[in-house]
Symmetry: C2
């Protein structure tokens, strides 16, 4: 039964019998009959079939929700038992917004120190993609913005707040300033994250409230690209101050704090909401609570 539910998940994700079967390590006919069995078992058509995959029926959509829940729980059960067997162990997949990558490193190294048998995969994704990954069981936890945009059904723990800073070469007109205001940056050519990222939307809002529009010359999903283009192209970029200092050191760049006009966005650890929480996630949340900045705990 669980096997068939996994088939449904794979099929819904791949939208293609052949590919889904391949992912599952079975042949296409096996998948085909597996889905048919599930449909018989539930007494409902789940998949719109013609000679092509035609999407899930409404019942299929609904069954998918349950399937995620059940398959996820059964995996978590297995993981937890393995943890019992060999201490906290296993593999955690973290999906992280680009500007939180340095914090992800901090979190994972500290965790790995306490629990040497736990390994990590860290992906850099936009905040919406992170929520999707968590939904689809393709990630176990994430680092993302906690407010601003609706989270799904998740547990969360704040880690820190983002304070923005301008990053530019020392020969940049604004490089010598102690602070700058958003309104100072209306005419400055900038390298910024792509508009699908929440960081960029937050920046845009700040610009808008200052009554100016950002001049984005380079857009990228990677902060490394942004800083590199600052170094090579003589432009400027805007990043959270911590992250900026991390990337700027050793490259002869200036980091100039920007005056804050609204609450600093809060970033933290999120994981799918679960009733029985697995020990690994519990430990991760405990660690997050320990290494969070004092400021992050303040509710705005």
């Amino acid at each position: 039964m669980i096997k068939q539910l996994e088939m449904l998940l794979a099929l819904a994700k791949e939208q293609h019998f052949g590919r889904a079967a391949e992912k599952l390590g079975i042949t296409q006919p096996s998948l085909s009959s597996g889905i048919k069995q599930l449909e018989e078992h539930l007494g409902v058509k789940l998949v719109q079939r013609g000679s092509r995959y035609g999407g899930l029926t409404p019942e299929g959509q609904r069954a998918l929700v349950w399937a995620r829940q059940i398959v996820g729980d059964s995996r978590r059960l297995r993981d937890e038992m393995r943890s019992v067997r060999e201490g906290l162990s296993g593999h955690l997949r973290l999906a992280v917004i680009p500007t939180a990558l340095t914090w992800a490193a901090r979190l994972t190294t500290e965790f790995a120190q306490a629990h040497p048998n736990v390994s990590f995969t860290v992906l850099s994704r936009s905040s919406v993609e992170i929520l999707e990954l968590l939904e689809n069981l393709d990630a176990d936890a994430g680092l993302s913005y906690l407010d601003n945009e609706p989270l799904g059904r998740v547990n969360s723990a704040p880690l820190y707040r983002e304070h923005f800073a301008l990053v530019c070469r020392t020969d940049h007109p604004l490089a010598a300033r102690d602070r700058v205001a958003w309104s100072d940056l209306g005419d400055t050519p900038l390298s910024l994250l792509t508009p699908d990222m929440q960081n960029r939307r937050i920046l845009n809002r700040n610009f808008m409230e200052a009554g100016v529009a950002p001049q984005a010359r380079v857009e990228s999903g990677s902060t490394i690209v942004l800083v590199a283009s600052v170094i090579d192209g003589g432009q400027a970029t805007i990043l959270p101050e911590d992250h900026a200092r991390f990337l700027a050191t050793g490259h002869g760049l200036s980091v100039v704090p920007i005056d804050e006009t609204r609450g600093a966005p809060s970033v933290g650890l999120i994981a799918p909401f679960q009733d029985p929480q697995t020990p690994v996630l519990t430990a991760l949340f405990r660690l997050a609570g320990r290494i969070a900045t004092p400021e992050s705990a303040v509710t705005t």
Copy 2:
């Protein structure tokens, strides 16, 4: 895999391989190997074995929690798909505190009217037993006290509040009174619910606060026994007023309201907390919201 989890549930409940196997409709060796398979799959010993069943290991206890979740969800998935197939249908098992039985009847008849394909089983249980039944997937929903004592992880919707009244024969010394106080009842011989029931504990608290002790001559888990013993034995009993009037009519009994000295206890519908809620339960909660007394919604 789910099959094996069901085996674990049955074994944990029956504490006996033979009986558990029988409940599952399989033979004892099948159960034995099923459990062993599960243990191999999870890589952990789940059951303490000697030549007798020796209880679950700590890991087994923990796995049991997940098993309940997973098996419950898979049943709810099946039920929901059946509902899609043949409209709202199926069988709901309600566990109800004795004094709420009349409300259970109201709830079920109204629901059955709207959804003729849904049938009910209504059990009369104490509030703690109700929570156990919900935990063990042996009941789908319940009617019980909403405050006073800790509920587990449940959804709840208030239905009404209990206002106590004295029930006695018309030849009883207190029968002619308009109202009585708790302190008036210290010397009155009473028939009351057994002390394992929350209703009785609430009564005890009321008595205690009035500085008197109840004189319980007959104790029972059934309000019918209480009223019958009032009729036959000339004693008195204390019941929620609604329930009292229901049972008292036609038997020449007096129902005398008791002065309230504390907030009237709230009674409502409860069901295991679920993320995807099944349509039947959703409908039941909606109905509960419609037929609830206005007073019940007030938070004290």
